[in-house]
Symmetry: C2
């Protein structure tokens, strides 16, 4: 997590935006493993000490950039009922997180994250998206599990298998997890 | 994962044992963040190039050592029935993995693991222990879920929350996960 609070539009926010942009550009040009703090600083037009002061080291900067990339930029699609909504969301979550880029971001987010704040933000993003789906279902009059139950039964197995046990991970597995939680009486 | 196959008792196995021991000793003496390949090599009585040749870099070595520390050295205890066995195992798994040392090992195992082999070994250890409990229950005539279902419903939520969402993680949460899987009809 960035070491300073960032006021939108201020100098600090501009530095953050240019450093994040430099990381993204250089990662696609020279590859993530070739990144160094001086290289990023030169591209961003800041001094290396600005980066060290704000982020501590390269891993913490990469963790911050990764979390930013993992932030959903739209609410999940509305398919008319909870089973369809949650299935579509779980399939898309799996697609994004299990892709080579997604795996790299998740690893970066976890690894440069001494206080666990960035991992917590990743999990909060998923829980927020799930919360939107559940609130929509409640408005329709559907009975729903709670957010933490969906985290345990859908988000956790998907993320655990992406990180530790990737064999057999596909859309039908995501669908079975959702069916498992909506098909039983444990709401 | 170590880059060479290791024949037990051979020179390669002796090098591995002394390098692993050097990492463990130095980590407790000077701290994990102060470790370097030359420091580990000197303590282990090998050349740095031996370490680079076999492990690639410090991160991959630390990943190997971490997985070794996460390997269970005994079969899980027998409490007479599956619910008690699985509850005790889940509580102990949570205790070990959520401890500061456990978290550090899990992070190290994931970090220096370009091919995912070490993360896979961590998951295989958990699945093996669960498999022993389930086989024991089957012998007793109890009906049991399968290993992958226990991974999804117990192991995955515990590990996901340890890494991403640690609030409210305690023995009663582990117990609820086990009750959830044994209390319903989804076997």
């Amino acid at each position: 997590m960035s070491r300073q609070m960032v006021r939108p539009g201020g100098r600090s926010a501009r530095v953050q935006a240019s450093v994040h942009a430099a990381v993204r550009e250089l990662a696609s040009e020279v590859g993530r493993d070739a990144l160094t703090v001086p290289l990023v600083a030169r591209r961003a037009g800041v001094t290396p000490s600005t980066i060290y002061r704000r982020w501590g080291d390269l891993q913490e900067l990469l963790s911050d950039v990764a979390v930013e990339r993992l932030r959903p930029d739209t609410a999940p699609e509305d398919h008319g009922d909870l089973a369809s909504d949650l299935t579509a969301w779980a399939e898309q979550f799996l697609d994004e997180m299990a892709s080579p880029a997604g795996r790299a971001y998740v690893r970066d987010a976890l690894l440069g994250d001494p206080d666990g704040g960035n991992a917590g933000r990743c999990s909060a993003y998923a829980a927020e998206q799930v919360g939107i789906l559940l609130a929509r279902a409640t408005e329709r009059g559907e009975s729903t599990p709670d957010v933490e139950t969906v985290v345990d039964r859908v988000v956790a197995p998907l993320m655990y298998r992406i990180l530790f046990r990737p064999d057999g991970l596909d859309a039908s597995y995501a669908g079975r997890l959702v069916a498992g939680i909506l098909g039983h009486g444990d709401r």
